[in-house]
């Protein structure tokens, strides 16, 4: 187990290195932060001077090496725009994003698992068909449109919730619902099909013929065996929500990492882009590792060496 963890850690390191390299190349190939930063009256000499100050006059490979050397010490450099350390900016915005993502995740699990299970119990029933229609809608409606519709309905028409900004729990409701919709739909469908798979198996028939209460059959025997793919998709969706919160954050003026990162990309603020990508990747990798460990708890047949 210890050896396995070490290997995973090593793999994670390679992955992060790869991600930073790709981001580095893409962002440096297109556009120029200095051009976006200076007044139109600036001359070539002004641009050269700023380039030198920001260290952008060095060759690309050298810039990357310097970046990695500093990054290892947790120093991602100072934001070109904000004049603050990039990592500090990302960490400042992180709580808002985590709050939103966790809320959306809890919401989607609380809705999708019961809905999926209920749908699987009576395939073809009204409940099943309603659930699946909802899932289809949730997966195909654009987040952007959903967000605006929520604002118009719950914010403007009914005035139940504040429209934008971060604050109390009431501010969280609409952004969390918007962000949760897609994953709720995906998880509902997967829970249903995964349950249907298991419910066909022999051991379920055995359990039923033993005279077990249907409730117990479903939750204890069927659900537990259907859980592995469900956990996988929940974790994947969590990662996607973490990085996909950009649109939701923009619609609801939510002060999260997504908005910071997107503006950084527009402005070619390299240190902030790198720091944001690094932190998000760390979460992704950590979640994946966590899921792999959870597998062993659920299914004793799975072990890592």
């Amino acid at each position: 187990m210890g050896g396995y963890l070490l290997r995973r850690l090593y793999h994670s390191f390679i992955v992060i290195l790869g991600i930073t390299l790709i981001i580095f190349i893409i962002t440096h190939m297109i556009g120029d932060p200095v051009v976006l930063l200076l007044s139109p009256e600036a001359t070539q000499a002004d641009r050269d001077e700023l380039q030198r100050q920001l260290g952008l006059d060095r060759s690309l490979p050298l810039q990357y090496i310097v970046f990695i050397k500093d990054a290892v010490r947790g120093d991602f450099g100072v934001s070109f725009r904000h004049q603050r350390p990039a990592l500090e900016l990302v960490l400042q915005h992180l709580p808002a994003t985590l709050e939103l993502t966790l809320a959306a995740m809890v919401l989607s699990v609380l809705i999708s698992l019961p809905l999926g299970i209920l749908a699987s119990m009576k395939p073809g029933s009204l409940l099943d068909r309603t659930g699946m229609t909802f899932a289809l809608f949730g997966q195909s409606a654009p987040v952007f449109w959903i967000g605006i519709m929520f604002i118009l309905l719950f914010g403007v028409k009914l005035r139940w919730f504040p429209i934008s900004g971060r604050g109390g729990i009431e501010n969280l409701v609409m952004p969390a619902m918007t962000l949760a919709l897609f994953s709720t739909a995906a998880q509902t469908r997967l829970t249903r099909s995964s349950m249907l798979d298991v419910l066909d198996k022999d051991f379920i028939r055995t359990a039923r013929s033993k005279g077990l209460h249907e409730f117990k059959v479903i939750l204890k025997h069927a659900f537990k065996n259907a859980l592995i793919p469900i956990i996988t998709i929940v974790a994947l969706q969590f990662g996607m929500m973490l990085s996909g919160a950009v649109i939701t954050e923009t619609i609801f003026a939510w002060p999260g990492v997504g908005r910071l990162a997107v503006n950084a990309i527009y402005n070619r603020d390299y240190p902030v882009i790198q720091a944001a990508v690094f932190v998000t990747s760390l979460f992704f990798i950590f979640i994946n590792l966590l899921v792999d460990l959870i597998y062993t708890k659920i299914d004793p047949r799975i072990t890592y060496r």
Binding site: I30, G31, D32, V35, L36, L37, L38, S39, P40, E41, A42, T43, D46, R47, E49, L50, Q53, S79, R81, H82, Q83, R84, L89, Q92, H93, I148, I151, L152, G155, V156, R159, P162, I163, S164, G165, R166, T250, I251, F252, A253, P255, G256, R259, L260, Y266, N267, R268
Partner: protein, 502 residues
Amino acid sequence: MKRFFMVFFILCFLIPSVSLGAPKGKLIIAQAVDLTSLDPARHHTQGEFNYDNAVFDRLYLFDVQGNSVPRLAVSHRIVNDTTWEFKLRKGVKFHNGDPFTAADVKFTIERILDPKTKAPFAANFRHIKEVNIIDDYTLQMVTEKPDPILIKRFAAGATTSILPSKYIKEKGEDPFLRHPIGTGPFQFVEWVRNDRLVLEAYEGYWAGSPLVKTVVIRPIPEDATRIAELQTGGVDIAVNIPPFLVNQVKAMPGVEVQSVPSGRVIFLYLNTLAPGPLQDKRVRQALNYAVDKKSIIEKILMGSGFQMAINLTPYHFGYDPSLQPYPYDPEKAKKLLAEAGHRDLKLVFNTPSGRYIMDKQVSEAIAGMFEKVGVKIDFKVREWGDYTKDLVTKKLVDIGFIGWGNVNYDADGTFFVYFIKDAAFSYYEDPEMKSWIIEARHALDEKKRKDLYTKISKKVFEEAPLVFLYQQQDHWGVSKKVKNFQARGDENFYLYRVGVEK
């Protein structure tokens, strides 16, 4: 005229005394973008300048028509061609009680010019060679060459907001940037990045206490969200209402729309530096005749625009009202193209998307109009950062959609930037025109400058180095609870005289 000014001044003193009483109420403003820092010298975008306008003051400001009005300066005298003397306002105090003196002005300007500051607009002030303190309230500035628009540069430059030299020298830059103080009508309270900026009335403001107690400026990037907040009273003022939503906002009870011609003009670049058909004046004129500006403004911009003869607005010093826009005349365009001998003309058309109001849609329409007169178009939608890099490095191919907000309110800020090859955004140069532009740039005689700009304007129109399109119209959504708010063409807002009813 003199009497008018007397009355005006008396009125100015009367107004504050009428509305005497402690500032009260809370004003919430939604703008599209957030600040990046609290340091005026490093500011770059309008969202940041609005904070500068509230917390700080500068030597001069523009009024709504574009005339410079003394603020922390009270008068100026031109000592010789390159030396200006400014008398400064007495009795002005920073938020911590320190008096404002000439030392603060010197400090502010020298800080902008210090390369370590990395001030984006340093280039606009680099020609100020010396700032000399004569006494606490008298200051001289020496410029490299005569600069007739020096005062306009201060009026336009929120980045020249005067900083407290004593405070910064004693406490250091970092503490100042965490809790900035200025001489402006509002004091800094709190800033949560990408969420809110909170300011509070400074009752000791030199021109009298502001009317509103608390100001909150919120960045809300999405137009629909900003408007929904305005509708439900979550915000009192919303900037940048897009033209296609204006009618919806007008229909809301308790909200009015203030529409104002913008200082921003929209046009197409033509790369006349690279060899090719665009170096032929007839081709450039043909492209100008080929564009139906009227229907673009009516159908795509829902009426929010004004046709332009060249790329200067009536706000700008040097504007020539006698010039009329190129009429829509596709037949003439075809004829000019035939004369020029370009039968199978094929040009690349670059456009940003989402940077200016309806930019991509307008570009698509124009590309269609060009095709109609027989010019084949290779249409390219460009990411902004990628596009501007091409522009500045002179790599633009053929045609490009762009907007230009010349906030100096002077023709220099447009002609110098667009019609002199060495400037960042220029794709055109003509030796004679260049000599006029340089001459006007350094002539202190207003009459002479005006005549030069009239000459230049006529030549710009005739030479058609750009495809001239329109001047934008800006729309602001303002709650009826807000009093005395006036939308401006330069997108600034000044909240000192603004009140709010609850």
